[in-house]
Amino acid sequence: MSLSAHQLSVGYHGHTIVKKMDLTLPDGRFIALLGPNGCGKSTLLKCFARILPAMSGEVNWQGQNLHHYPSKQLAKALALLPQTQPIPEGIKVKDLVAYGRSPYTGFWGKLSTQDHQIVEQMMQQTGTYELRDQLVSELSGGQRQRVWLAMVLAQDTPYLLLDEPTTYMDINHQVELMHQLQALNKQGKTIITVLHDINQAARYCDHLVVMKAGELKYQGSPEEVLTSAMLKDVFSLSAQIHQDPVSGTPMCVVED
């Protein structure tokens, strides 16, 4: 059932970024993709979301190559929140969130009562309901990020792929988002997110995947993966691992 990469190479303009990767992402988990800048996390995520084609190898879902599925069917299975989003002109928040329902809409993009309910529910969940009649272009970066998140959630997919979703967000909204994602994960969604903050990943996610220079280096539970040796190897960083006093999860503290 799960999403997996087989000998997968991905890149841009003939330049390979992800190199012959074999990776199986376990279903029903809250997975963080970690690694230094330029290691290919975003590129890998884009290929899983079929935005970028594989140069060689393949991404499989339910035992079949992802690119063999019809676009609409995939849009009901996988949703991606890209790292940078365009600023659409003249579109209201509620209309943008409603576009999340496009894979389900009937004739001529007509929304059903159920579609309207889901759109409203997602706006409430992301704290954007009060903004619903405002233009997306007039919001702040953090607000806009939450509106895009609401759109992706409205897509109501079993897999949710997020590329650094906490960027542009205040710390309270970051924490709120991580709690939300945890709750969605408890409801059965598989969540795969690129994160920069390692401690945030170790605290909220239950499966970490660490990449370096386009290759898979470590994967497993936060306790298995977050070690001094890994930080030294992947980030060339000397750090101590302590236990988070609140959650009991591992936490790294950088040495001088």
Binding site: A75, K76, L80, P88, E89, S102, P103, W108, G109, Q155
Partner: protein, 333 residues
């Protein structure tokens, strides 16, 4: 609620305007006097002996219907092009489709070995298609970024100029056909007759219905290609279908009345200004405004140099060129 009220009243206002201008078009500036009442009587109690009635039904009505449909075709072609490329300056006349179609038609109607080999509308579509493809390749339009808008327009200008030069060369080589081709290049509705209408309306109507079907995908495409793909839009299929529709719409319009520019550029902006970004709303509205604008231009084309006729395309260029400059200055290219 007030938003809905505004949209409905604007829509009714437009339909009423369209009806009035159509009525005016049927009787205004006729060499043989025709009155507004004659127009109504021609429909309600047609008299075979009345010259005015015959003019209305045999000459004016096909001309009016052609103007309406040509306007709708060109306006929706422009709306689709702006939606597909997410470029506010995209329009058939700007991106070389008009000039290419003109060249295609000039080639089949003047060169002896091509004469009769292709119908003029097919030639117009082929010519327009080739020109547009070249513009898209030169302007790398399928990868849209803010600073590539200018590049696409420049490619359009270059290809249009090339096509225009080739068209002129062809016309000069075949002098006896020149007058006909020149009138046609300027875009005039003076020759619209029932006979032409019969081949024009089926293609135009099918394409217009197809255009409406594309509206939901165009909406999602405005969120950018990554989001559109994520939301289940088959990009390749939408773009191919959209391009084919544009070529059918423009090809049908151009083979019916010749090269009329600027409708496709101006009208989508007016429609968006009045009704917002939703293509399901602004596409049908663009059709109505386009029909209105071309009919108005056709009516004025008889007035400017009465009793002679000025091509409607020239009238539209007079309105359109300043608008184009306004758009270029408003949006930093």
């Amino acid at each position: 609620m007030s938003h809905l009220f505004r949209s409905v009243s604007l829509g009714l206002f437009l339909c009423l305007g369209l009806l009035l201008i159509s009525w005016w078009n049927l009787f205004a500036w006729s060499v043989v006097p025709v009155s507004g009442a004659d127009v109504l009587h021609a429909f309600t109690s047609f008299n075979d002996q009345s010259i005015a009635h015959r003019i209305v039904l045999d000459l004016r009505l096909p001309r009016l219907l052609t103007a309406l449909l040509v306007g709708a075709c060109l306006a929706s072609a422009g709306t689709i092009m702006q939606g597909l490329t997410r470029n506010p300056l995209a329009a058939p006349s700007v991106l070389g489709v008009n000039a290419g179609a003109a060249l295609g038609m000039a080639l089949v109607s003047t060169l002896p070995f091509l004469y009769g080999a292709l119908s003029t509308s097919i030639a117009a579509m082929l010519g327009g298609g080739v020109a547009w493809l070249l513009v898209m390749l030169l302007g790398s339009a399928w990868r849209v970024g803010a600073n590539e808008h200018g590049r696409l327009v420049l490619a359009g200008v270059a290809i249009s100029a090339l096509c225009a030069a080739l068209t002129k060369a062809v016309v000069i080589m075949e002098e006896d056909q020149a007058a006909g081709v020149m009138t046609w290049l300027a875009g005039s509705l003076a020759d619209a007759r029932w006979q032409k209408w019969q081949t024009f309306w089926p293609v135009a109507s099918i394409s217009l219905i197809g255009a409406l079907g594309l509206a939901p995908s165009l909406n999602v495409l405005q969120l950018g290609e990554d989001n559109a793909r994520n939301l289940g839009i088959n990009l390749l299929r939408s773009k191919l279908f959209g391009s084919l529709l544009v070529l059918m719409l423009v090809g049908a319009a151009i083979s019916a009345v010749g090269s009329i520019g600027f409708v496709g550029l101006i009208v989508p902006h007016i429609a968006r200004l009045m009704f917002g970004q939703d293509f399901r709303l602004c596409l049908p509205v663009a059709m109505i405004i386009g029909a209105l604008l071309v009919t108005l231009a056709d009516t004025l084309s008889r007035a400017v140099t009465y009793p002679m006729e000025t091509p409607a395309g020239a009238i539209l260029a007079l309105i359109g060129a300043p608008f184009f400059i306004y758009l270029v200055r408003k949006r930093t290219l």
